[in-house]
């Protein structure tokens, strides 16, 4: 299994990467991590800079196309590779087929564990009330909804309480949160209200972008609720 580490995990949340590796080690699956990888180019693409994102895409394809299987801890990055890379190369048939080839074997973490490896129980235990946040791109563009919940259900002692509107955006939206902070915060505060109403002490998610956003606001508001990536939960 080849690890597509995601820039945010690489630089800010390496512990999530550590947890992912530990999960695969438990399954006896050897992990390979190309050390030349940098970024999938999503932020440039979402801001409309197609030429920059093409540069990132070509590099990604070159680094990863020989891998058998690629796994990533972020739904939005997988969305970028699987769904947007081919559209970037719409008029370049060679790159287009290379992009489709790579996209076809790139998986989001929970998608890979549950749908491909068909493993749900990792012997984890975490005696807390948890709630789960559905990241937008993971839910709507990759179609992952049940898989993380299945994984959570097998964690001993963990009580999953669904928050209201768990599938509503947290307000991150990449550069949206920086360019339109008031609107982003207003959306985020509604997410926080839902989290608090659920009574959970921990919010689990599959995308550190969202978690970073939620945790940042929780900290600013001095609320004791914690956020956790699903990989970290599975090694508890």
């Amino acid at each position: 299994m080849t690890l597509f580490i995601q820039c945010l995990v690489d630089q800010i949340y390496p512990e999530v990467g550590d947890a992912m590796v530990a999960v695969f080690q438990k399954l006896g699956i050897s992990v390979n991590c190309p050390t030349e990888q940098t970024c999938c180019g999503q932020s440039a693409y979402n801001s409309g800079y197609k030429s920059v994102s093409k540069t990132a895409a070509k590099r990604f394809i070159e680094i990863f196309e020989k891998s058998e299987v690629i796994v990533c801890p972020s739904g939005s990055c997988v969305d970028m590779v699987r769904n947007h890379y081919p559209s970037l190369f719409r008029n370049e048939p060679d790159w287009h087929s290379r992009a489709e080839n790579v996209g076809g074997k790139t998986y989001e973490f929970t998608e890979y564990l549950v749908d491909v490896l068909k493993v749900e129980d990792f012997g984890a235990s975490f005696k807390e009330k948890l709630t789960y946040h559905d990241s937008c791109h993971l839910l709507r563009n990759i179609g992952v909804k049940d898989q993380p919940r299945k994984l959570i259900s097998k964690v001993a002692g963990a009580e999953l309480v669904e928050m209201g509107n768990s599938d509503k955006c947290c307000g991150f939206g990449g550069t949206f949160s920086i360019k339109y902070p008031q609107i982003s915060t207003a959306i985020l505060d509604e997410k926080l209200d839902n989290i608090i109403s659920s009574g959970a002490t921990t919010v689990v998610g599959c995308d550190v972008g969202c978690l970073m956003n939620i945790q940042g606001r929780l900290n600013r508001k001095k609320l004791p609720i914690k956020t956790m990536h699903i990989a970290q939960l599975l090694v508890q």
Binding site: S47, S51, V52, C136, R140, G173, F176
Partner: protein, 476 residues
């Protein structure tokens, strides 16, 4: 009819977010209609799949639009109706004023019509001495208050019953009450007088039928039916794309439209209108006019990237789930079309550069497409618009709008192309973050251009060693 600018958008959005009344109204609307619509698509006999069929039906209509419009016009004229093709809002308004002048009309009643808002019909009529009364209850309230609608289907969503009570007390001379049935009855009485004495009725068109030569109107209040059959003259205005080929197409689209708009199986009143009353017919207007409007739509049609937006049937389902609309409300958009549909349509119909906040101020969550009865890929088009402002496009008269941002991303492009450079940059950042104000290990203030983040959020520090760095060390 647009007042879009970055300043307007940001100020209005700020106001809206602070407005507790509006926030509560928007939350109520979205909580009521958002999830209900999604559930209703699922309980269709055909299931969710019907949306894909509807998408095809609409794209088919766009590909054959010239022939469909020709057929529609021919059939209506055969029945004694008039059809006018208006290139832009000026032509459309002038045609309407020609009619009101010729008929010496003093009073007009209107069914809710976004396209009539688009062309500024009401203002033109009033300037010309014709009183124009909106007959949809929400539009009526908004009109009395001298405001613009803030939602396509629920125009007065931003008003409380107390506000409406005071408004009716002032404008209708009734004693103050905030009881909705009483207020509705008061409006109904006033509107009934208007219906019975109006010289002319204006309506929009939900979806014309080319095959049979009809326009259609849908409502739950019955006001459009009264406005289009009681007065002696009926003028219907339609965006040129609001047409399908055959009657069978309406079945799927109406069922979807009603679910998208109001989470109901079908609207209460569905009317097909194909011309004026025939001589032997007792009911119906003497004159029927259909104004078919371009006003920038043909330019959108000619663009492969954006023609899909013309599939829209104006149900507002996207507004009902958009997290951004749910916070900033309709007035922040400063134009006729709001919400996700407005974020794509308005820039294309006006000026992309000036209205860039509409499509940049979205989180791209994708809820709009999921909720759209015809599965329009709104996120794709929001991204396409962003690409226009980033890299410019002479066809749409737009130059790259942010040279600083472009520069930053070009630097970023170089950094991600070389892991050594990338590592170096982050080593600098790791070092640099030490001088930023922190508390409990969290950064409290980021420098520009990231300072927006730390207005309301703390920021996790960059880790002392990157994952890749640690990996390299363990692999040795």
């Amino acid at each position: 009819m647009t007042t879009i600018s970055t300043e307007h958008y940001k100020n209005k959005a700020k106001e809206a977010i602070k407005d507790d009344v509006l926030q509560s109204a928007l939350a109520g609307l979205q909580n009521r209609l958002g999830p209900a619509t999604a559930a209703m698509y699922k309980n269709l006999p055909e299931g969710d799949e019907l949306r894909y069929k509807a998408h095809e039906v609409r794209m088919f209509a766009l590909d054959n639009l010239d022939m469909l419009l020709e057929q529609l016009a021919q059939k209506i004229r055969q029945r004694g109706g008039n059809v006018f093709f208006a290139r832009d809002q000026k032509e459309a308004v002038n045609y309407c004023l020609e009619i009101t002048r010729r008929r010496k009309a003093k009073l007009a009643v209107k069914g809710k019509s976004m396209v009539s808002e688009e062309i500024g019909l009401n203002d033109a009529l009033i300037k010309d001495g014709v009183k124009a009364v909106e007959t949809d209850l929400g539009e009526y309230i908004v009109q009395l208050a001298g405001e613009h609608p803030s939602h396509i289907i629920a125009p007065a969503i931003h008003k409380t019953r107390n506000q409406i009570g005071s408004l009716f007390e002032e404008k209708l001379g009734i004693s103050y009450t905030n009881d909705p049935p009483t207020l509705t009855k008061a409006a109904r009485k006033h509107l009934r007088d208007a219906f019975l004495t109006a010289d002319i009725g204006f309506s929009g068109c939900n979806l014309a039928c080319a095959e049979t030569g009809h326009i259609t109107t849908l409502s739950n209040e019955g006001n459009i039916r009264l406005a289009t059959t009681l007065p002696k003259v009926h003028v219907a205005i339609m965006g040129m794309e609001r047409i399908v080929a055959s009657l069978e197409d309406h079945d799927a689209l109406f069922r979807l439209l009603s679910r998208g708009a109001a989470a109901q199986n079908l609207a209460g009143y569905v009317s097909y209108i194909g011309g004026p009353a025939l001589d032997s017919e007792i009911d119906g207007p003497e004159e029927f006019h259909l104004v078919i409007l371009d006003n920038g739509r043909s330019k959108i049609l000619a663009d492969e990237e954006f023609k899909e937006i013309l599939c829209c049937i104006r149900c507002a389902a996207c507004l009902n789930v958009c997290p951004v609309y749910g916070k900033i409300g309709g007035h922040s958009y400063g134009c006729t079309y709001t919400g996700p549909i407005g974020a794509v349509l308005t820039p294309l119909m006006t000026d992309i550069g000036q209205s860039k906040d509409l499509f940049q101020g979205e989180s791209l969550c994708g809820a709009c497409q999921d909720n759209c009865p015809v599965n329009i890929n709104l996120p794709r088009m929001l991204l396409a618009l962003r690409a226009k402002t980033a890299e410019g496009d002479p066809r749409w008269n737009i130059k790259p709008s942010s040279p600083v941002e472009k520069f930053i991303f070009s630097i970023w492009s170089k950094l991600i192309s070389n892991r050594k450079a990338y590592d170096f940059f982050f080593r600098l950042a790791r070092f640099g973050q030490k001088i930023l104000p922190t508390k409990n290990g969290e950064i409290r203030k980021l420098p520009p251009p990231f300072s927006g983040w730390t207005l309301d959020r703390d920021m996790q520090q960059i880790a002392s060693k990157s994952f890749i760095q640690k990996w390299k060390e363990t692999q040795k």
